[in-house]
Amino acid sequence: MGAVQIQAQDIHVGNIVWLRENDEVPCDLVLIGTSDTQGLCYVETAALDGETDLKTRVIPSACMGMDFELLHKIKGVIECPNPDKDIRRFDANLRLFPPFIDNDLCPLTIKNTLLQSCYLRNTEWACGVAVYTGNETKLGMSRGIPEPKLTAMDAMIDKLTGAIFVFQIVVVMVLGIAGNVWKDTEARKQWYVLYPIEGPWYELLVIPLRFELLCSIMIPISIKVSLDLVKSLYAKFIDWDSEMIDQDTGIPSHATNTAISEDLGQVEYILTDKTGTLTENRMIFRRCCISGIFYGNESGDALKDVKLLNAVAGSSPDVVRFLTVMAICNTVIPIKSKTGAILYKAQSQDEDALVNAAARLHMVYVNKNANILEIRFNGSVIQYEVLETLEFTSDRKRMSVVVKDCQNGKIVLLSKGADEAILPYAYAGQQTRALVEAVEQYAQLGLRTLCLAWRELKEDEYQEWSLMFKEASSTLVDREWRIAEVCQRLEHDFEVLGVTAIEDRLQDGVPETIETLRKAGINFWMLTGDKQNTAIQIALSCNFISPEPKGQLLLIDGKTEGEVCRSLERVLLTMRITSSEPKDVAFVVDGWALEIALKHYRKAFTELAILSRTAICCRVTPSQKAQLVELLKSCDYRTLAIGDGGNDVRMIQQADIGVGISGREGLQAARAADYSIGKFRFLKRLILVHGRYSYNRTAFLSQYSFYKSLVICFIQIFFSFISGVSGTSLFNSVSLMAYNVFYTSVPVLVSVLDKDLSEGTVMQHPQILVYCQAGRLLNPSTFAGWFGRSLFHAIVVFVITIHAYAFEKSEMEELSMVALSGCIWLQAFVVALETNSFTILQHLAIWGNLVAFYVINWVFSAIPSSGMYTIMFRLCRQPSYWITMFLIVAAGMGPVLALKYFRYTYRPSKINALQQAERMGGPILSLGNIEPQPRLMEKEVSPLSITQPKNRNPVYEPLLSDSPNSTRRSFGSGAPFDFFQSQSRLSSSYSRNCKDN
């Protein structure tokens, strides 16, 4: 090809970039040529939006038919908007210079672009003009900068470290001053110390600095190393867990971020995506209603309904038209595989389901060749020419194609869309009651419904409209809205053919998982780009909210600031005045109201967020998802965001913990996430087992690390009082180092295997997670306990040692080794006492470490040049040494054991109660209500009627990043886009209820 390979950073705007098959697109390009004669090329956009299917991109009409040589010489101007992050919109124009005579403005859309980070597939080569490069690409603009995450626990440990640091400074200052005073009063008299009479002033600093050195071990450096080690082991346990392997795909769970496992145990809010996270995102065509006849109601599967099969076999005209719409009213690309089977590449799972279902019903979409579609029905091949495609937008909520039947030349408009976007536009006189009923019935079953419609167009009507459409397509300003307006002129007087119902099944175990986690005191928010009723429906079916008598939904809506404000205040008021009633109250908010609430009523909304355990936010954009996470985080809640698609990435990055489901929408979310799991239900295990254990283990490990450092440090401090406050170290430097690095860190590292309760017990009693959430195992007061213990143990070791080894035995090396052995013995017993379950590894580490201590010291004692030559042998021969050890252990551990036993038996925590029940096999005593702060409950307002007829239609709707702006514009048009109407009706019924009360 003669092209030169260059670095992506060297590409400038305006360069022509050539790509080969499977190349990654280096910047945003406007496509101007491909190897395909039709000017098509295929891209995989998974990295951009998470959708795994191939998308077609087409070269602009102006460049059509240019050959390879010509492309090198092409010259022209592209007018494009400023860089933005909307990956679904690109409103630009292209004008080519002579000799490329096409002087007209040629409109460019997103379909003419190759965006950065997409991959070129199934196309030999393509070339394009760079329009946005570097950080100005669509991807670059939408990329949030993920902040490094710090667990609540790490923050607490840092705080405690700070406190210890202050304590250390105080100790150093006090001892430093005492040392200087003692030096000036006593040490001067001690001729054998030979202090110089007059020293320079900085001599004053020597003693404090010596104490600083002595006390520097007070903050255990080893804690960082130990924590990193155990954290990576926590992560490994997640990776290894065979119960979290997705059986369908064999993909294990994975912890990308190894540093935040403890946070999993402290989660307070879970923000979840819906499609693909709670549901399988595997659409299956289940039922349909054609011309008032219901198919699939008996068997639950229309494809097996004999009535329908007979109708298809008999070529009933209604059914045939219905199937035709199913088969071709879409943007699906059929690809023939080598075996002859036809694979469909669809942008949305719904379309995929419809086309596949049509194929099963003998209406096979065979081929697409440029604008010519080929379908085969009962053996005969029918060809259609696609004249226009009126694409789906979330405002129009329908998509249409205009096709020409190649046999008889008739032009037909085929549409499919949400019921409220189709049914009102049925031709006057069509009876739509049966269809409305069908929609309602299907919606109650939690199925996603679509209405299919059809209208024959007259030749001149189409021609006239076609011009307007072309003109609208090339506007630069408000193009989307203009097109919508033009489309509206064609999409009316439908003959509604019927309703399809597609099932998006919940994933296995979703309701149980949500119920368990809610019992564990975790609040759930559902953030979805989907519409309100679908969201509510799914929420109901997965225990997210309770059905009516128990649960209650409060709606926040409104199109203007005032309305939103009023609605928000009403909801807040009802939430506030209701207190202890055991009712599940949830609020529902849509993206538009949310935008206003977040912008103008942030305080009120924040209060609402704190009051409400459950929320459903529908039609929210990715950035709003992230904003909600931010809001909860700003209230000091630990948030976990879980999602599966590219639209969840920002929320996942924003949350304290991001969990990605490696699902059908690609791996983008999973890659951005801290944890990736195969199924939603693994979340339960991730939090209750891995998160909880990690929290407990780190809580012990970190406090123990401080404890053991403090013990040795306190002994040093006490020793300084009997060594003339001169800063002598009782222990030699080798022992000190080995104490921190080896003797005390090995036993505690195996605490990563400790389990206070078995997994089964935790799963049955998820309430005990509250201990982790509230941080009851690591906080200043538990830390004070460990601090006290270290002080006590230091006193025990010190006092017993100096009295047992007094007078003729008071040799320095011996005494220091006695004190050190005393500490080591106590450590072993402390770890043993705090261990809940002993595996062979724990025994090995705890007792093996004690043996290793002696072996190591014997080795040192055998080296003549070492300072402690023969010391350990001498000590081990003395009965008094062993009696001293027994005394230290008994005096040090006795009170600790007694206190622990007393608490365990007579002031048991819920964990203790469960431990007793689990191990003694006894009945589990009532756990009582350990939910610490009962959330405010709803009382009076009668439930938002979730059976509103117009509102019950989960609808075909890919997740869109529609902004409220576009919504507003469609409103402003005055065109009958009245999908808000139903909601305002809801709010009025709501306010009526309010007044009734």
Binding site: I722, A806, M812, L841, G894, A898, Y901, Y904
Partner: protein, 319 residues
């Protein structure tokens, strides 16, 4: 599928698999009343007899402690003891009578005890050179010995504050006009004599300067045989300590009176330190030290009390 099943089946048996699944067999001890009470009872029943045995051992040790720092200063000098001790012209000899209360079986250890003497002071502890003690003047890097490192630009052997402040009171023991035989050999650790202090290292330039500290050393005796120095250089961790002076290898009978003739050379007066002479027998536990026995009895009885308290609590709140 069957293959993976088999693999999985085999895997479940390996310890590593169990480790990865955190399912290693574990024993989960419970703090049941029975266990805890048993532990405390057991501790009590171990420690009380142990305490009594050690107490008996300690009591079996006969000890004579005589403080002599004040008495050995003649009356006229007691107002200013420091000038007395620092004045070389005044003779420092002094006599003490020790009365033996109980039969003391040989060997009887002779200790000198210093109180309020900080051998563990940081400045003091560090001021020595183990390498020089072993290798003599060959070893030059003796900066740790400061401020007693050089004298007249020649290295001091042994250098450092510890050696410089060597204790130099001497004692002779006389019973009924006959001198008691005091064995002054083997009072230092054998390991020190063999491996820490050089056989070919002789004191040189020691206590030669303007600053005279404690005792002097015979420059013709190698350091490995200077046992008083070796004992002194094993610094004590506590401000009150006893160091071995020698052994009396004759039994002393009850009511024997031992005359101690001592040279009161060592200055503890400037910092108010006490000097004591100790004669002591020994037991399997060492010297006289009641702490072991008392502490064991205390711990043992506390354990018993706790056991009883917990037993009562258990009976009262039995569920």
């Amino acid at each position: 599928m069957t293959d993976t099943d088999r693999v999985r089946h085999r895997d479940t048996k390996t310890a590593f698999y169990l480790f990865t699944q955190q399912k290693l067999p574990a024993c989960k001890p419970v703090l049941t009343p029975a266990w805890v009470i048993t532990i405390f009872l057991f501790t009590g029943f171990i420690f009380i007899p142990l305490g009594l045995v050690t107490l008996r051992a300690s009591r079996s040790v006969i000890e004579i402690v005589e403080r002599y720092d004040t008495e050995c200063v003649p009356e006229p000098f007691r107002i200013d003891k420091v000038s007395y001790i620092q004045d070389d012209s005044i003779p420092k000899n002094c006599s003490l009578f020790l009365k033996v209360h109980k039969y003391m079986k040989a060997p009887i250890y002779i200790y000198y005890q210093l109180d309020n003497y900080y051998q563990n002071h940081r400045r003091y502890v560090k001021s020595r050179s183990d390498q020089q003690l072993l290798n003599g003047q060959k070893y030059q890097a003796t900066s740790s010995c400061q401020p007693v490192e050089f004298n007249n630009a020649r290295p001091i052997v042994p250098c450092g504050l510890i050696a410089w402040s060597l204790f130099n009171d001497t004692f002779t023991f006389i019973r009924e006009r006959a001198e008691l035989k005091v064995n002054r050999k083997n009072i230092a650790w054998k390991s020190d004599r063999d491996h820490k202090f050089g056989k070919n290292v002789y004191p040189s330039n020691f206590q030669n300067g303007t600053l005279i500290g404690g005792g002097k050393l015979n420059p013709r005796i190698p350091l490995s045989d200077q046992e008083d120095l070796i004992v002194w250089m094993r610094t004590s961790a506590l401000p009150s300590f006893r160091k071995l002076y020698g052994r009396i290898e004759e039994d002393l009978d009850a009511d024997d009176v031992v005359l101690v003739q001592l040279m009161n050379n060592y200055n503890t007066y400037s910092f108010g330190g006490k000097k004591k002479l100790v004669l002591s027998t020994s037991s399997w536990l060492g010297g006289k030290n009641d702490f072991f026995g008392l502490a064991c009895v205390f711990v043992g009885s506390s354990s018993l009390i706790l056991a009883i308290v917990f037993m009562l609590l258990h009976l009262k709140f039995q569920r």
